[in-house]
C-alpha cells in the first residue's frame, strides 16, 4: 500500500548507474522549481551511441527511481533514439507514478536531452574546427 509501484521502490532501493562517471563526454542538469530538487546526468558517447551513463540526484524516491530507470533505458541507445525517450516512457517502465509525482520523471528525460544537445554542439564545433 505504498503510493509507489514495486518497480519504483526496487529502483529506489537499488539505483542503477548511480554516480558521476569519470571522463564523461557531456552532462545535463535540471532543477525542479516545484520542489527544489536537482538532477545531473553524465554520458559517455562512442559512435553516436551512449556507451556509459551516470547520474546524481537530490530528490524524492520518484526522482531517484526515474533517474535510475532512465539511465537503464538510455544506456546502449543511439543519441537519436535517446532523444526520443520521454517522461512517459520512464513512467511506463516504472509501471506508473502517482500524479503529483509525474513532474519528477520529467526531470530525468530533460537532463538527458540537455546532455545530448550539449554533446552535439560541442562535437559540431570540433568538426567545424
Amino acid at each position: 500500500m505504498s503510493i509507489y509501484t514495486e518497480k519504483v521502490l526496487e529502483h529506489f532501493k537499488n539505483p542503477r548507474n548511480q554516480g558521476k562517471i569519470k571522463d564523461y563526454d557531456s552532462f545535463g542538469e535540471k532543477g525542479n522549481p516545484v520542489c527544489g530538487d536537482v538532477m545531473h546526468i553524465y554520458i559517455k558517447v562512442e559512435n553516436d551511441k551512449i556507451v556509459d551513463i551516470g547520474w546524481e540526484t537530490m530528490g524524492c524516491a520518484a526522482a531517484i527511481a526515474t533517474t535510475s530507470m532512465l539511465s537503464e533505458l538510455a544506456k546502449g541507445k543511439s543519441l537519436d533514439e535517446a532523444m526520443k525517450l520521454t517522461k512517459q516512457d520512464v513512467s511506463d517502465e516504472l509501471e506508473g507514478l502517482p500524479p503529483v509525482k509525474m513532474h519528477c520523471s520529467n526531470l530525468a528525460a530533460e537532463a538527458l536531452h540537455e546532455a545530448i544537445k550539449k554533446y552535439r554542439e560541442k562535437n559540431k564545433k570540433k568538426k567545424t574546427k
Binding site: 516545484v34 527544489g36 540526484t57 537530490m58 524524492c60 526522482a63 531517484i64 503529483v100
Partner: protein, 367 residues
C-alpha cells in the same frame, strides 16, 4: 520496528487497551438520562473519573471539562464558539487553528498572526501591541508540533488577563510533558487529545473556565465515547514523569550525535523544548528519501512537517521561523516515546548516518 513517529500519533498502551475493552464488551451501556438502568450508570462513573484525572493534571475543576472527538474538534469549537471580533494567534499553529482562522476572516472576523523568532518563540511584545478593545480571543499553542518549541504561556496568560481577553492554549503536544496550571497560567480554554499520549484516537478534552460559555459547534445529544474516555483517563495515569526524563536524555544524545553529521541544522529552541520531539535538516538531500530508506530498515518516522499533510509545500512553521524552502527540504521529525530503548537510539543513529551518507553520495550538491 523502531517507531519514531510519535508526534504524528502513538501506539495504544496495552493497559489502556484492557480498560477500553471493559467498556466495549462488559460495561457497554451508556446512561442517556439520570434515570437510566444501573448497568448503564458505569458510563457516568468513568466520565467523572476521567474528568477528575485530567483536572488534577491541569489544576482545574472536574466540571470545567468536556469531551470532544479530538484536538481538531476542540480547536474548532473554541475559535467558532467565541463572539465575533478580533482574534490573535500565531503563525506556527496547527492547521485546525490556521484553517479555521482563515475561514473566520472570510466571515468578517479580524485575525492577527503573531511572528516567531528563529527558535520558534512567539514575540510577547507583539502580543501586547496587537491586543485591541475588540480582541475576543488569544489562541497560542503550548508546544510546537514540528520543532517542539515551548512557549512562555504563563507570561502570555498574564498579558491576556491584564487585557481581559480570553486565552486559549492548544496543549496537544505539551500535555503531560510540560507542567500546565490553568490557574497560574491564566488559561481560560485548553484543548488536549488522547492519541498523542498512548490513548485511543477519536477522543479529546476541552477545559472551559467557569462561567465562560461557547456557542456549541455540534448540537444534540451525542452518545459519549465511553470506551474512549476510559482509555484516555488510563493513558494519563500511565504517563510517568520518569518517561519524560528518559526521553529528554535520549533527545540530548540525538542532538549530540546528529550534530556531528556535517551540514546539519537542528531546529527549535535550545532551552525550552519538549522532551520528545526533535526536528533536523540534512542539507543537500531530501526528506522523503530519508524516511523511505529508514522505513526499509524498519525505522518509522516522518518528514519535517508531517502533521500538516503538506504534500510538496514547505513547512509553514519553518517558514515562520525564517527558514527558506531548501531548509525544510531534507528535514525529518523524530518523535520519541517511553517504548524507545537506548539501544533503539543507537541503531537509529547508525542507520541514519548511513542513509544520509548514501543520499549525499547520490546528490549532485556537495558540501
Amino acid at each position: 520496528m523502531i517507531y519514531l513517529d510519535n508526534t504524528t500519533t502513538t501506539k495504544v498502551d496495552d493497559k489502556v487497551l484492557q480498560e477500553i475493552e471493559i467498556y466495549q464488551k462488559e460495561k457497554y451501556g451508556v446512561a442517556i438520562s439520570d434515570y437510566s438502568p444501573e448497568f448503564s450508570m458505569s458510563s457516568k462513573k468513568v466520565m467523572d473519573a476521567t474528568q477528575k484525572i485530567i483536572s488534577e493534571k491541569i489544576n482545574s475543576n472536574p466540571d470545567e471539562m468536556i469531551f470532544t472527538s479530538g484536538q481538531t474538534e476542540g480547536n474548532n469549537y473554541v475559535l467558532k464558539g467565541v463572539p465575533k471580533g478580533h482574534i490573535i494567534t500565531t503563525k506556527i499553529e496547527h492547521s485546525s487553528i490556521l484553517k479555521t482562522c482563515k475561514s473566520l476572516e472570510k466571515q468578517g472576523y479580524d485575525v492577527t498572526y503573531l511572528d516567531v523568532n528563529e527558535e520558534g518563540n512567539v514575540d510577547l511584545n507583539q502580543l501586547k501591541e496587537s491586543l485591541r478593545k475588540d480582541t475576543v480571543l488569544v489562541s497560542i499553542q503550548h508546544a510546537n508540533q514540528e520543532v517542539g518549541t515551548v512557549q512562555n504561556i504563563k507570561e502570555a496568560g498574564k498579558v491576556c488577563k491584564d487585557h481581559q481577553a480570553l486565552f486559549h492554549v492548544d496543549a496537544s503536544h505539551s500535555f503531560l510533558r510540560v507542567p500546565i496550571d490553568v490557574e497560574k497560567m491564566n488559561i481560560d480554554l485548553l484543548t488536549i487529545t488522547s492519541h498523542l499520549i498512548h490513548g485511543p484516537k477519536g477522543i479529546g478534552a476541552l477545559y472551559i473556565r467557569k462561567p465562560i460559555r461557547l456557542k456549541p459547534l455540534i448540537q444534540g445529544t451525542r452518545i459519549h465515547n465511553i470506551p474512549g474516555i476510559a482509555g484516555f483517563g488510563k493513558a494519563i495515569e500511565l504517563w510517568k514523569d520518569k518517561d519524560n526524563k528518559k526521553m529528554r536524555k535520549q533527545r540530548e544524545k540525538l542532538i549530540k550525535e546528529i550534530g556531528k553529521i556535517p551540514n546539519t541544522v537542528i531546529f527549535g529552541s535550545t532551552e525550552g523544548s519538549l522532551p520528545d520531539v526533535l526536528s533536523v535538516n540534512f542539507k543537500f538531500i531530501e526528506g522523503e528519501s530519508i524516511v523511505l530508506y529508514l522505513g526499509m530498515e524498519d525505522i518509522v518516522l516522518s518528514t519535517g512537517s508531517a502533521c500538516a499533510g503538506r504534500g510538496l509545500k514547505p513547512s509553514h512553521v519553518l517558514e515562520a521561523m525564517g527558514y527558506g524552502e531548501e531548509d525544510s527540504h531534507g528535514s525529518i521529525r523524530i518523535g520519541l516515546s517511553r517504548y524507545i530503548e537506548n539501544e533503539d537510539i543507537d541503531i537509529f543513529l547508525k542507520e541514519l548516518k548511513e542513509v544520509v551518507n548514501r543520499l549525499r553520495d547520490m546528490s549532485p550538491i556537495k558540501g
